[in-house]
């Protein structure tokens, strides 16, 4: 099946663009970038066509990577149904976004650099998805983190961009630290890192008497997932990540990379199923993040920030799905979310493009007539994310909420309220952007075909994507929960969604005066939410500052200068003193040195012989 071809195409693209991009013309660069991704997409199609819907994982072994004692890690790829879904999403959506980026980045500097990074990201993301053991997964994991850092800081001349990049990188380090600890624990306790072996071992264990370290592993994995998928408490990097170019926000920070955590937890579902506690934590984190982020999203004025918080909140939904044991529902939402959130971001990008860089909702409005295609597609995304039946968001969200209700009703209610808020803020943004009077001072122009082409495709997907019955497809891996026949949960969530839309319409189209009055009325709450609950400041005070001060005083002045430097200098002095003596033995004659070596080796051999190195071969 030659799975290795799938990631290798983008990698070749990266090499070509990264090494020679400077000399290549823009069309060639974009041709290489998009072509490579298209090739791997086609190869994915061929692979899936060849495999169909495999019951067991199709496995390819390439070479032994690390072999130390019992631990034997090899470079293997594996494809099962879950991987197939992920592959389709990554390469498919990725290709559309690449095409879009050709139009979006047309006037930017560092064109080839951008596409080289993008291809590199695709490479690592595919490694992450295809890898058949935790270490390969980790390689991809770190790789996409690196690319995300590079791309967030793409406009490295602006300080905020580089700061955002650093923030993302550092916050992710915390998560990755947890993940790596989890990997070590797995290696210690299972003696292998291959998914197949590990999970079969776990399956063997009885659920009720599962040892504590499985819980530990799961919690550590969860830490990693919260970092990568921007969950509480490590979500803070994602909104800032919007400093990167919009296609990056769409590809990395909405569609693919941030869902890596969801994929990872789903991948290790066997383990999580053995620790209801960890699973419960996942659910709680998910629902909390969903609600919390949604509230923040209500009041953002930067269009990309709104969608960023919406992403966090939707990821929260996915975690809620996983936590309530409905893994397939989580993956389902992952897919639909990839469609409509990528569409939202690309649409936002198209709007920003149209307004030549304007991102503030307060300076938009009335764009519906000026950029109709973008407007239409964005509204498709809106209805999709708001969970309006029969569009894609409705199906996946309903699956999750249904599972949530069976798991714990309160989670369901929170989720439903969140759904309402989601609908509200998304349509708030859309109304502010497209309805009313134009408040800006640019001259909006519709984007070129190469940009709105992908938008249309994504719009179609986010409208109809709900009929790709992922849970059914994944059933052999994650058996569906028993169909609790309470349709009213569905009706309620739909009602909330529509209600949110209606409320947004009332607030921002019919009577724009209401929001101001509300803001002045609930001033404290307003400021609190408007400033994102001061979480960043809180982290600064509690974590960052102490660290900086501590390292400055204690580590630098204390440890470094006195202890380390002292030690180094002391070593140097001693070495010189000893050398002064040893110098006498240096005749400068190589043969003398050789003789010394021989004498020494004889001594060593004798010593080993006396210490019982003999007869070892018996």
């Amino acid at each position: 099946m030659q799975l290795w071809l799938i990631p290798i195409f983008p990698f070749l693209g990266f090499l070509l663009n990264g090494l020679f991009g400077r000399r290549l013309s823009k069309p060639v660069v974009s041709m290489i970038a998009c072509g490579s991704v298209l090739l791997s997409f086609l190869w994915v199609l061929k692979t899936i066509a060849g495999l169909g819907a495999p019951e067991a994982a199709y496995f390819e072994h390439y070479f032994t990577w690390i072999q130390s004692g019992a631990l034997n890690i090899s470079a293997d790829f594996a494809v099962d149904r879950l991987t197939e879904v992920m592959l389709m999403v990554v390469t498919g959506v990725g290709f559309l976004i690449h095409v879009y980026a050709v139009g979006y980045m047309a006037h930017e500097g560092g064109y080839y650099r951008f596409f080289a990074y993008l291809n590199l990201f695709m490479f690592f993301m595919l490694i992450l998805v295809l890898g058949a053991n935790f270490l390969l997964l980790f390689v991809g994991w770190e790789g996409v983190g690196l690319c995300s850092y590079l791309l967030i800081g793409f406009y490295f001349l602006e300080k905020f961009a580089t700061d955002a990049g650093n923030k993302a990188f550092i916050v992710n380090r915390i998560g990755d630290y947890g993940f790596s600890l989890a990997v070590f624990l797995i290696a210690v306790h299972f003696g292998t890192l291959d998914f197949g072996k590990v999970f079969s071992q776990v399956k063997g264990m009885p659920v009720e008497s599962a040892p504590g370290w499985i819980t530990a592993i799961c919690l550590l994995l969860l830490v990693g997932a919260t970092g990568k998928s921007a969950q509480i408490p490590l979500y803070v990097w994602l909104p800032d990540a919007m400093a990167g170019p919009t296609p990056v926000s769409a590809l990395i920070h909405a569609a693919t990379m941030v869902t890596a955590g969801v994929y990872m937890i789903t991948r290790s579902s066997q383990m999580f199923l053995h620790t209801p506690f960890a699973l419960n934590i996942v659910a709680i984190i998910g629902v909390a993040t969903a609600f919390f982020a949604a509230t923040i999203g209500l009041l953002q004025n930067d269009i990309k920030k709104v969608f960023a918080y919406s992403t966090v909140s939707q990821l929260g939904y996915m975690f809620l799905g996983l936590g309530t044991g409905a893994f397939s529902a989580g993956i389902f939402h992952l897919m639909t979310h990839a469609f409509f959130k990528a569409l939202l971001f690309l649409g936002a990008g198209s709007v920003i493009h149209a307004l030549s860089g304007e991102q503030d909702l307060r300076n938009m409005g009335g764009l519906a007539k000026k950029i109709p295609i973008t407007c239409g597609t964005l509204f498709c995304a809106g209805v999709a994310i708001a969970g309006v039946p029969p569009f894609s968001g409705f199906h996946s969200k309903d699956a999750i909420l249904g599972a949530a209700y069976q798991y714990a009703p309160w989670m369901y209610w929170v989720g439903v309220i969140t759904a309402g808020m989601t609908a509200f803020y998304v349509f708030r943004a859309l109304f502010l952007c497209f309805f009313g009077e134009y408040r800006g001072h640019h001259h909006p122009h519709e984007s070129p075909f190469i940009m709105w082409g992908p938008l249309v495709v994504l719009a179609a997907l986010s409208l109809g994507g709900g009929y790709i019955n992922v849970p059914r497809f994944l059933e052999p891996m994650f058996p569906l929960a028993a169909e609790g026949g309470n349709e009213w949960t569905m009706y309620v969530s739909v009602a909330f969604g529509l209600g949110g839309i209606a409320l947004a319409y009332l607030f921002y189209v019919v009577a724009p005066s209401i929001p101001e009055s509300l803001a002045s009325g609930l001033h404290g709450l307003y400021t609190l939410v408007y400033n994102k609950y001061f979480v960043d400041e809180l982290y600064d005070e509690t974590v960052v500052k102490p660290m900086v001060d501590g390292s400055r005083t204690l580590l630098w002045r204390g440890a470094d200068v006195t202890i380390i430097d002292g030690a180094v200098n002391g070593v140097g002095r001693t070495a010189r003193a000893v050398g002064g003596i040893l110098k006498l033995a240096q005749g400068g004659y190589i043969r003398d040195y050789a003789a010394w070596v021989v004498a020494g080796s004889i001594a060593v051999i004798v010593a080993m012989a006396l210490l019982g190195g003999m007869g070892g071969a018996k």
Partner: protein, 166 residues
């Protein structure tokens, strides 16, 4: 039969090695080294390492030693002159080497008593196929690293040996 072959070629190898040490002229030493390598190749065959034996012929005897001879001819290196000064190495050398051989022999005899005999054909994993399997499945990373090393070595050799262009 195997034992006789072994004795013949072992004797030849040792003789050549001694000659290497005793000869005054580098080119004689070089040729005796080639002799050692050839007989070692035969011993490898006896031990079932057919591929490695051929590699020994091709790489060592065929390439490396030709390089040596080439350099000797290029520098037109004459035979050694009498040593001007005698380092302690020249005195301590003999006993040390004797001790080395003695210890090695003793340990080996002690570790593996001469019960099991090496029969030609008893070892079957020395053919090109198995070596390739091992090399490109298990040891692929070292293999690549080695190739890089060789590349670096080539560059270094060129840099060292090229004429100074001023």
């Amino acid at each position: 039969m195997d034992a006789i072959l072994f004795l013949i070629f072992a004797a030849f190898a040792v003789a050549c090695a001694v000659n290497l040490v005793l000869q005054k002229h580098p080119i004689s030493s070089a040729l005796s080294l080639v002799g050692v390598m050839g007989s070692l190749a035969v011993l490898y065959l006896l031990l079932g390492g057919e591929f490695i034996a051929m590699a020994q012929l091709i790489v060592y005897a065929g390439a490396i030693m030709v390089l040596f001879i080439f350099v000797i001819m290029l520098l037109n290196a004459g035979s050694e002159t009498r040593a001007k000064r005698h380092l302690w190495a020249s005195y301590a050398g003999i006993p040390m080497i004797a001790a080395m051989i003695a210890i090695a022999a003793y340990i080996v005899q002690h570790a593996l008593p001469p019960t099991e005999e090496v029969r030609f054909g008893a070892f079957q994993h020395g053919n090109a196929y198995d070596i390739g399997e091992k090399l490109f499945k298990v040891y692929v990373l070292p293999f690549e690293v080695t190739s890089i090393l060789v590349l670096v070595a080539i560059l270094g050799a060129i840099v060292l040996a090229r004429k100074e262009v001023s």
